[in-house]
C-alpha cells in the first residue's frame, strides 16, 4: 500500500504500541537548550536515572545569550545561572556535541543542528522547543516537546506518542517577484489558521517546495507549528543530499552511499492517502505582513487592516478588536502606511545565510530611515556570521545603519536584553507576533528578511517589489 512520508517515518520508529494506539517512538536526535532542560536533568538526578544514550544529544545555549558585549559575559545573573546549569548538566551527562556560549559554532539550536549535519533524513528529532519542526525540512520527523518529555527522552530514548493525522499542503504555481519562503508560509497560515494543523503532521509539497532551497524549506517547516502542526515535513531529494554532503556529523564513505540510498526512499509514495489535502496557488501570493497578535492575522502588503464591524462571529470579532487595540491600529488602515520603530532580522525562522543575503541585497547602497530607533541583524549561528562576514554582508548592513550582532535567539522572544519597549512597533523576521512576545507592550509584525529590509529603509511597511 502506498505510504505517506509521515507513515514511513512513524512506522520505522515504533518500539512498542499500547492497545489504544499510544506508541513508544524511538528518538534518534535530542537537541537541548538551556531554557527547557534544567528541570529535566534535575528530575533525572532525583530519580537516580542516567541518560540512556548521551551521543544522541546535541546542546547549545541560545535563548538567554546576549548579542553584544560578549567580553562582559552574561550580566543578568539568572540568565547566567541557566546557561551555567546547562554547561554543568552536559558536563555530567555527555553529548555528541556541545557548543557553549561564545563557542565559534554557538547559535540558535535550529540553525546549528542542520549546519553541522546532526539532523539527518529519516531521523526522529526532538527538542524542548516548539520550533523543532524546522528540522522536518530534511525528511526527519521533528517536533517540540515539553520538559517532562525531555526527561523521558533522556531516560528512555523514547517518547510516548499517538500517531498524528496527515495533511498535504501542495504549493504549485510560479511565485511572483519578492515572494520568499516566509511569505509562502505566512500565506498558508493565513489560509488555514493557527489551529488549522492541530492534530496533523503537515507535509509540504508541490513544485514551489521542490524548487526551494534547504534554507527556505527550513523557514517553511519552522512555522508549521504556527499553523498548529507540531511537525512539518518535506521529502528528501537532491537538494537535501547536496546540502548534507561533507557536513561535520553527516555520514561519509560507505555509510554515505548507504544513507543516500535510504534517504531517496523518504518521500510520499504515488497515490498515498492523506487525511487532508490543501492546494495553494503560489502565483496568488504577494509579500506578506502580519497586522495582529496571531500569525494568522496576516495581509498582503497592498492590503488593509480588517474592520471588526464586518465580522459576524462574536468570538472572532472580539479577537480582532482586541488585536487592533493592542497593536494600536485603526480598522481599514492600509498596512503600507504603518510606521515602525525597530527592525529585527534574525531568529530560527530567518537568520540563515540566504536570509542575510536577501536582506543585504535590498539594503545595499541605501540607509535605514532616520525615524528608526534600532535596526539589527542577528545571525543564526557563529558559522552563519563568519560566512556573512566573508561575503562582506556585515559591511553592507553596517553602512546602512544596521547593528551587526552576535548569534542567538535575541529579540524573537526577548529573553536577553534585546526587546521592544511598550508601544514600540517592529518589523520582525521571527515567527510569533503574540502580545508581549518581543517585550511587554511591544507590537510585532512578521515579515520576510527582504520585507524587513525594505521597511527599515522606508521607516514603514513598504512593498519590496518596488525596490527589487
Amino acid at each position: 500500500m502506498p505510504q505517506t512520508l509521515y507513515d514511513k517515518l512513524w512506522s520505522s520508529h515504533v518500539v512498542h504500541e499500547e492497545s489504544d494506539g499510544t506508541a513508544l517512538i524511538y528518538i534518534d536526535r535530542h537537541l537541548i537548550h538551556e531554557v527547557t532542560s534544567p528541570q529535566a536533568f534535575e528530575g533525572l538526578r532525583i530519580s537516580g536515572r542516567k541518560a540512556w544514550r548521551s551521543n544522541s544529544i546535541v546542546a547549545v545555549p541560545d535563548h538567554n545569550t546576549p548579542t553584544k558585549n560578549w567580553d562582559q559575559g552574561i550580566t543578568d545573573p539568572i540568565s547566567r545561572q541557566q546557561v551555567e546549569t546547562l554547561d554543568s548538566n552536559i558536563r555530567q551527562t555527555g553529548a555528541l556535541a556541545y557548543f557553549p556560549f561564545k563557542d565559534r559554532k554557538q547559535g540558535i539550536v535550529h540553525v546549528i543542528g542542520p549546519e553541522n549535519g546532526v539532523t539527518l533524513p529519516g531521523m526522529t528529532v526532538v527538542c524542548g522547543d516548539s520550533h523543532t519542526s524546522t528540522h522536518g525540512a530534511f525528511a526527519a520527523l521533528a517536533h517540540g516537546i515539553g520538559t517532562s518529555e525531555v526527561e523521558h527522552v533522556l531516560a528512555t530514548q523514547t517518547l510516548l506518542q499517538k500517531k498524528s493525522k496527515t495533511m498535504l499542503i501542495q504549493i504549485d504555481g510560479q511565485p511572483g517577484k519578492g515572494v520568499t519562503p516566509k511569505d509562502v508560509v505566512l500565506y498558508v497560515i493565513g489560509q488555514i489558521g493557527t489551529a488549522g494543523g492541530t492534530g496533523y503532521a503537515i507535509e509540504f509539497g508541490g513544485s514551489v517546495i521542490r524548487n526551494m532551497s534547504i534554507e527556505g524549506r527550513m523557514t517553511v517547516c519552522n512555522m508549521a507549528i504556527e499553523a498548529g502542526a507540531r511537525a512539518g515535513i518535506i521529502a528528501a531529494d537532491d537538494n537535501t543530499i547536496n546540502y548534507l554532503k561533507g557536513r561535520p556529523y553527516a555520514p561519509s564513505g560507505d555509510d554515505w552511499d548507504k544513507a543516500v540510498a535510504y534517504w531517496r526512499t523518504l518521500h510520499s509514495d504515488e497515490g498515498a492517502q492523506f487525511d487532508k489535502v490543501i492546494k495553494i496557488d503560489a502565483a496568488k501570493i504577494i509579500p506578506q505582513v502580519t497586522w495582529g497578535t496571531s500569525p494568522e492575522m496576516v495581509l498582503s502588503i497592498d492590503g488593509i487592516v480588517p474592520d471588526p464591524a464586518k465580522i459576524e462571529d462574536p468570538v472572532k470579532r472580539t479577537g480582532v478588536e482586541r488585536a487592533l487595540e493592542y497593536m494600536g491600529l485603526n480598522p481599514n488602515t492600509p498596512i503600507n502606511t504603518v510606521k515602525i520603530d525597530k527592525v529585527f532580522i534574525g531568529s530560527c525562522t530567518n537568520s540563515r545565510i540566504e536570509d542575510l543575503r536577501a536582506a543585504a541585497a535590498v539594503v545595499k547602497g541605501r540607509h535605514v530611515s532616520a525615524s528608526l530607533k534600532l535596526a539589527m541583524v542577528v545571525p543564526g549561528s557563529g558559522l552563519v556570521k563568519e560566512q556573512a562576514e566573508r561575503e562582506g554582508l556585515h559591511e553592507v548592513f553596517k553602512a546602512a545603519g544596521f547593528e551587526w550582532r552576535e548569534p542567538g535567539c535575541s529579540m524573537c522572544l526577548a529573553m536577553n536584553d534585546d526587546r521592544l519597549s511598550p508601544g514600540e512597533r517592529c518589523a520582525s523576521t521571527s515567527n510569533r507576533n503574540f502580545e508581549g512576545r518581543q517585550g511587554p507592550g511591544g507590537r510585532t509584525h512578521l515579515v520576510s528578511p527582504q520585507m524587513a529590509a525594505a521597511a527599515a529603509i522606508a521607516g514603514r511597511f513598504a512593498d519590496v517589489r518596488e525596490i527589487l
Binding site: 516548539s130 515539553g146 468570538v315 529573553m415
Partner: protein, 213 residues
Amino acid sequence: MNKFTVLDGLAAPLDRANVDTDAIIPKQFLKSIKRSGFGPYLFDEWRYMDHGEPGMDCTNRPRNPNFVLNQDRYQGASILLTRDNFGCGSSREHAPWAIEDYGFRALIGTSFADIFFNNCFKNGVLPIVLPKEEVDALFAMTEATPGFKLHIDLDAQTVSRPDGKVIHFEVDQFRKYCLLNGLDDIGLTLRHADKIRAFEDKRRTEQPWLFAS
C-alpha cells in the same frame, strides 16, 4: 504527578481564542531552573498593571480589575473555561506548571494546541475538549451564576452541571490510566527497556551513521 480522579470545582471563564503560552507565562519567568512557584505569575501581563519579574512578591502588585481571574467571584477556581486553540505557541511546560500551581486542575474548551495538551497530562491537569455548544453553554452559565461549580469524573469521563446535565468527554485510555493513578511515564516506559534496547541494536546495525559519536 498528582492523581486526578474526581474534581468538584468552581469554574472561571477566560473568553478569548488563541491564548498562547507566552500569555500564560511570559518569557522572563522561564529563566527559573525550578518546576514550581509559577502560579503567582500565571497570565502575568493580563493580571497585573505593572511589569512582573521572576522572584517578585506578588501580594501587593497592582491588579488589573478588568482581568477575569481578578474578580472576587472566581477566587479559588479550579476549572478554567477556554476557547479555541488554547495553549498555542511555545512548548514551554512552564505553562501547565503555572496553571497547576495557581490551582487549576482541569481546563474545558473547544480545542487545545497539541504540545500544550500533552504537557497538561504530564502535570496532573486534565484538558477536556467539548463541542462548541456545550462550551458556549458553560461560559453563559458560569457568567450568569456566581459560585457556578462543575463536577468532573475522569473515570466516568463526565462533566456534570448543577442542573443535572451530564456531558461525556473523550480521553485517550493510556493517558486516563496514568492520570487516574498518578503514574510516572518514565517508570512505565522502562518496563519496556529490553524492547528499546533490541530496537536500538537493530537500528545501529542497519543505520550506523545515526549512532556516530
